[in-house]
Structures are given as structure tokens and as C-alpha cells.
């Protein structure tokens, strides 16, 4: 019996030792999990590719320069699959910190997973750049090591109202329809508040299930409320379906602005249904942020350079998840360079003070009650337009970044 026990214990220890456990002393280890499987697979992959591009560029110059040490540190990644599920996030982040000796962390994709990872980062006092996580709620929970790259959910759709009041002050009826998911719901709840504050009439405020495939009757319901604008959405699949069916049902509204879906390049597979749909995006290749219009100090490549480099590396034009991934690396790099140190506290201070503009937009963090929340960056609005018989994304908002004028109203396309 004792033998059996010792064998079992031995097996257990052996099993725990499996997996590489080295970490270079002369390298900067950046740890994160990504969703190689499960429902976040595609967004997470984009984000990862952006991050990888950044690392490649940094390492081609020999790494990040750390002033106090006086030399460059190349960047290495340690990452695991979190399966888009919360189960292992904490285990893997703990492993990244304690076993893989990660110096800095990047968040997983999605707010839910980030929230679980944040506890670990906070507990071990590791700086974590949160990208792909737009929720506001993580940032009033007392964390002091988590820094958000995305514009938070509360400001995602508010600009749609600003656009509307600018182009058509008479349009006052708004239908807000959204996917019943964490992200969409928090975005739309804030949008509703903002709309009401601005004097709009919210004629419909209703959620649909994430699994919804058929919107026909829902669209009939929307039609009956005669809105001027429809805003909302959720993720890609539902947004795409919804758009397709709006077109099929020939719904006559003036503005359609949806989360996520319009920003994804595959949206163009919808053909004419995609035309004139607008949507907020964290970043677009055509966004004309430049050194000239920047409200703060510029850092890193231009939009064009980033887009081209990405296209060269992966064969297609990047979306905002990729840009978010790249930006997370870039901001971290800037913070280390500013701090001149890789000590957490120094980097943290640099991040607190940071106010820069990059190809991705302005970056500045809240240091008050919502510590770490992104306050500098704002959404750009894109619209699908026709150019030479082809569907193209144009940036129409904010005006300083626009690549084309908004085509209004939406029903012009019928």
C-alpha cells in the first residue's frame, strides 16, 4: 500500500513538472493567455497577431531600451490557451508570474476573463495591459495594476448620438436593440442614459438572445416604433445577420450604428446589405490621426506604417483587435522607456503620467476612482460606402480623423 502511495505521489510530482520552466535573465518576459479555442478564438487570434508584430519590430531593433541598465532587452512571450473560459485563467496567470517569471502581463481577450486575471495581477503586483476588454466595471473595483487600452464600454456608442444631432437635429427617435451579453448590455445601457440626457426619445430598448438567428419578427417590432435611428448590436454573427435582415425587410431608418460587426472586414461579404451601415471602432486603418492633429505627444509608427507592416506579415488588412494588441505592446514599451526601469512601480508611475498619441489614437489613463480606465482614447466611426463598385470602410467620425463624409440617410440605398 505504501508503495502504491509513493508511486502515486511520484506520478503527481512528475506530472506537475511537465512543461518548460525556464526564463531568461536578459530578456523581458511578457505573459498572457489567448483563446486558441472556444468562442473568442478569432478575436483573440487577431489581438495576438498584433502583439506579435510589435514584438518582432521591437526585437529587430534589439529590444526595449532600459535606461537604468543601459542596454536593450529583447521581448519574449509566454502564453497559453485559456479556451475562452474562466476555469484556467487564474491558474495560467499564476503560472505565468511565478513559474515563467513574466515581467509584465497582457490581459486575455474579453472583459470576463480579464476580470479574473486582474485579481492575480493585482495580488502579485504585476502591471497588466488590458486590451480587448472594454468593460468599465473592472476599473471601479480597486485595482491598481490594470491599464485599459480600449475605449470603455460606456463611451462606445455615445458618439452615435453626437453624429445624429450634428447631421440631422430633427431626428429624435432612437431604437436601441442589443445582444443580451455582458458587453453589449453595458454599452447600450450607457448609450441609453446618454441619449436621454441629450434629449432623444428612446422608442425601444430591448435585448435579444446571443443565439438568435432570425430577427424577422423582431425587426417587425422595431418597424412598428418608427425610429429614426437604430443603434445597438452585440458581436459579429448577430450583427451581420441583423444587418442582412434589415436590408431584406427594407427598413426605412436614417442611421444604423452597430457594435463590432461593421468593423470586421468580413462584413463586406453581406454585399449591398452592408452599405451605409455605421459602427464604432477602436481603430481603423483609414483613421487620419497624425502628428499634426495629435492632442498629445506622438509615439510609434503611423497608421499607414502599421497597416502595411501587418498586411505584409499576415496577408490582410488589420482590424481593431490587431491594433489593440499592437497598441498594448507599444504603450508598455513607451512606459518602460519613460521609466527607464523594469520595476513595476516605476512603470506604473510612467503609465499614470502617460499622455501620448499613437496610430491607434490618444492614450491616457484615469488615476482617480476608476484607476486604470482609458480616458484618452475615443472611438472612430466607420461607414461602409461604395467606391468604384466595391464596398469600402470609410472613417466618418471624429471629424479630425475622417476619410470621407457620412452618407445620410441610411435608406438612400434602397
Amino acid at each position: 500500500m505504501r508503495r502504491l502511495m509513493s508511486v502515486l505521489v511520484g506520478v503527481l510530482f512528475l506530472a506537475m513538472a511537465i512543461g518548460p520552466a525556464w526564463a531568461g535573465m536578459d530578456k523581458l518576459v511578457i505573459g498572457f493567455t489567448m483563446s486558441q479555442t472556444g468562442k473568442f478564438n478569432s478575436e483573440s487570434k487577431e489581438q495576438f497577431q498584433g502583439l506579435k508584430l510589435w514584438a518582432k519590430q521591437v526585437n529587430s531593433e534589439g529590444g526595449i531600451f532600459v535606461r537604468t541598465v543601459g542596454r536593450r532587452f529583447p521581448v519574449v512571450f509566454k502564453y497559453y490557451d485559456d479556451e475562452s473560459s474562466k476555469d484556467r485563467v487564474q491558474q495560467l496567470y499564476t503560472r505565468l508570474i511565478s513559474q515563467d517569471k513574466a515581467d509584465f502581463l497582457i490581459s486575455p481577450y474579453s472583459s470576463g476573463l480579464t476580470a479574473s486575471a486582474a485579481i492575480i495581477a493585482e495580488q502579485y503586483g504585476k502591471v497588466m495591459m488590458a486590451t480587448g476588454a472594454a468593460s468599465d466595471s473592472i476599473f471601479n473595483k480597486g485595482y491598481t495594476h490594470v491599464f485599459q487600452i480600449y475605449t470603455p464600454a460606456s463611451r462606445y456608442l455615445t458618439d452615435a448620438m453626437d453624429i445624429l444631432s450634428k447631421v440631422d437635429p430633427k431626428a429624435k427617435r432612437i431604437a436601441i436593440v442589443y445582444e443580451n451579453s455582458k458587453f453589449a448590455k453595458s454599452v447600450c445601457t450607457s448609450a441609453k442614459k446618454y441619449a436621454e440626457k441629450k434629449g432623444f426619445k428612446v422608442v425601444l430598448f430591448e435585448a435579444y438572445d446571443p443565439g438568435t438567428t432570425d430577427f424577422t419578427s423582431f425587426i417587425n417590432k422595431i418597424k412598428a416604433t418608427h425610429p429614426d435611428a437604430i443603434i445597438g448590436g452585440g458581436h459579429f454573427a448577430d450583427g451581420e445577420t441583423f444587418t442582412k435582415q434589415l436590408y431584406e425587410q427594407k427598413v426605412k431608418v436614417k442611421l444604423v450604428s452597430l457594435l463590432v460587426a461593421p468593423a470586421v472586414p468580413e462584413f463586406s461579404e453581406l454585399g449591398k446589405a452592408a452599405l451605409y451601415v455605421t459602427g464604432p471602432s477602436q481603430w481603423e486603418p483609414l483613421a487620419k490621426f497624425s502628428k499634426k492633429t495629435a492632442k498629445s505627444k506622438w509615439f510609434g509608427p503611423s497608421s499607414k506604417e502599421f497597416t502595411q507592416a501587418y498586411k505584409k506579415a499576415y496577408g490582410y488588412v488589420p482590424g481593431y483587435h490587431a491594433a489593440g494588441g499592437y497598441a498594448a505592446g507599444l504603450v508598455l514599451q513607451k512606459a518602460i522607456e519613460e521609466a527607464g526601469s523594469i520595476k513595476t512601480n516605476d512603470v506604473k508611475k510612467a503609465l499614470e503620467k502617460m499622455d501620448i498619441t499613437t496610430f491607434y489614437g490618444r492614450i491616457k489613463f484615469d488615476t482617480g476612482k476608476y484607476y486604470g480606465r482609458q480616458v484618452g482614447h475615443s472611438m472612430v466611426y466607420l461607414q461602409w460606402q461604395e467606391k468604384g463598385g466595391k464596398l469600402v470602410k470609410e472613417v466618418v467620425w471624429p471629424l479630425e480623423a475622417k476619410s470621407a463624409d457620412l452618407i445620410y440617410p441610411f435608406y438612400k440605398k434602397y
Binding site: S42, T213, D214, S217, K221
Partner: protein, 285 residues
């Protein structure tokens, strides 16, 4: 308001027919071999991708490609049967549940690796028809028609061909069928093959209407459970009727209550019917 109701009914019927087709394969397999095929959803997703790639690379209209998908499905299903089910076909339910689930893991695992979970859509615009203020896209009407055609085909197959009759005989009494000279192993494999083929067919048709990922089959699988329980086990027509009921529920209920409650309603119906009349609402027995 009247037009809203009419629209809901019409699109409910069209969607319901598709749901029905999606459930028929599950129901056939359940009825014939008493196996709940937990890889049903994975095969639906495979059907979606088959249709997508045929449209994209062979420039084949999904409404023609669907016949190819059907043929492929039969072969794939039969292979799956021999690999994963044949050995345990008489074992307790748990074994067959887990075996089919493992098939699903393999398909979805490989699918995620190869296709990623990037959403895809087949861009096929065939115009639309307007009925009393409701616009019905042609693709939807076509999927409805095709669903009916495949159901009728299955009926013809099961009731008019020797192979079909053999499958029915096997479902009623395996030993007796064997004594009549039916190769029951092949009959079971064929039944599984057809069940899988119909799942893939439904996927191929759904892909013309809705965007999808490798994970999209899961939703149809869960709906298929509801449909099978509504329509009664083993009956293809029951599945079509169950699908119609579900399609109408989804469309009509939405007019009155918040859309986000629909899935709750569906699963509550599933559990309720199972408790009250486990053989299915429309079943004779």
C-alpha cells in the same frame, strides 16, 4: 399590426421548416438506434462549411451543392458509425452519448484549428418576394422548399425502398430484421449516415441565410432536442411539425415579450414536455 402577425407567421413557417430539417437527422438516429447523437451540431456546422467552400472555390450554388453535401454526409456518417458506435451500439446510453460527444470534440477541435472561429457567410442574393407588407427573401423561401423536399425524399426512402424498409424494420425489432435477411449492421450504419447527411444538409441550407462559425451547430443541436421532443421520437414528419411549432413560437412570441426570453421559453417547454409526456407531444404512443 396585422401585417406584423402575418410576417411573423410566414417567416416562422419558413424558419420552422429549416429547423425541422435540422432535427430530422437527430430524430431518425434516435428512433432507429436509440442513440442521441451529440455530434449532430458538429455535423451541421460541417455542412455549413462544405456549402461555403463549394460556393467559394467551385462556384457552386448552395442549392445545387446541397445534393453533394447530402452524398458526402452519408459516407461520412457511415464511417463515423463504424469508428465510434458499432462496438457499443447495445451498451447503455452513457456510452453512446459519450462516444458521439467525442466525435463532436474531434470535429470542433479540428474545425477550430483549421477554420478558426471567424464568422463566415455565403454571399448569395436572389432577390425577394413581398407578401402583404412582409418581405420574404428568395433564399429563405428556397430553404423552406428544400427542407420539404428532403423530408419527402426521406419519406420516400423509408417507405418505398428496400433499404428504407430495412431501416424501419431494424428500428422496430433488430433480431427479427436480421432473421429476415437484413444486414442490420449495414442498416444501422446507413441510418446513421442518412441522419448525419440530413444534419449536414440542414447546415448547408442554413448557411445561405445566416452567418456561421464552426461552433454554430450547437444552437441547432439544442433546438433539435426541443423539436424531437415536441414532435415525438422517430417520426420524420413529427420533426418537421416540431420545427414548425418552434419556428412559429420564436416569431410570434417575440411580438409580445422580450426576445431575450425566447431561449428560456424553449428549454422550459422541453423540460415540461419531457416531464408530462416523454414520448413527445405529437407521438401516438
Amino acid at each position: 399590426m396585422l401585417s406584423a402577425w402575418l410576417g411573423a407567421v410566414l417567416s416562422g413557417i419558413l424558419l420552422g421548416l429549416l429547423y425541422g430539417l435540422a432535427a430530422i437527422g437527430l430524430n431518425l438516429i434516435w428512433g432507429v438506434m436509440n442513440v442521441i447523437n451529440l455530434s449532430h451540431g458538429a455535423f451541421i456546422a460541417l455542412g455549413m462549411f462544405s456549402s461555403y467552400f463549394m460556393a467559394k472555390y467551385l462556384h457552386l450554388s448552395p442549392f445545387i451543392g446541397v445534393f453533394l453535401v447530402l452524398a458526402m454526409g452519408v459516407i461520412l456518417g457511415m464511417v463515423t458509425y463504424f469508428v465510434s458506435l458499432h462496438k457499443i451500439i447495445s451498451a447503455p446510453e452513457l456510452s453512446t452519448l459519450l462516444a458521439t460527444y467525442s466525435v463532436s470534440l474531434v470535429i470542433i477541435g479540428l474545425g477550430t484549428f483549421i477554420f478558426t472561429t471567424n464568422p463566415r457567410a455565403i454571399d448569395i442574393a436572389l432577390g425577394s418576394v413581398s407578401v402583404g407588407g412582409t418581405v420574404l427573401p428568395t433564399t429563405r423561401i428556397l430553404t423552406g422548399i428544400f427542407s420539404v423536399i428532403f423530408t419527402l425524399w426521406l419519406y420516400y426512402f423509408l417507405y418505398k425502398t428496400w433499404s428504407g424498409k430495412a431501416i424501419r424494420a431494424v428500428s422496430m425489432n433488430r433480431d427479427a430484421a436480421e432473421l429476415m435477411g437484413v444486414n442490420t449492421t449495414m442498416a444501422l450504419a446507413l441510418a446513421f449516415g442518412i441522419g448525419v447527411a440530413l444534419a449536414m444538409t440542414a447546415g448547408a441550407l442554413a448557411a445561405t441565410i445566416f452567418p456561421f462559425t464552426i461552433l454554430s451547430g450547437g444552437g441547432y443541436e439544442l433546438k433539435s432536442f426541443v423539436i424531437c421532443v415536441l414532435g415525438g421520437l422517430g417520426s420524420p414528419l413529427g420533426a418537421l411539425l416540431g420545427g414548425l411549432i418552434l419556428g412559429l413560437i420564436e416569431n410570434l412570441v417575440t411580438l409580445k415579450i422580450a426576445t431575450s426570453y425566447v431561449p428560456f421559453l424553449e428549454f422550459a417547454i422541453l423540460v415540461f414536455i419531457l416531464i408530462v409526456k416523454p414520448t413527445g407531444l405529437l407521438a401516438r404512443r
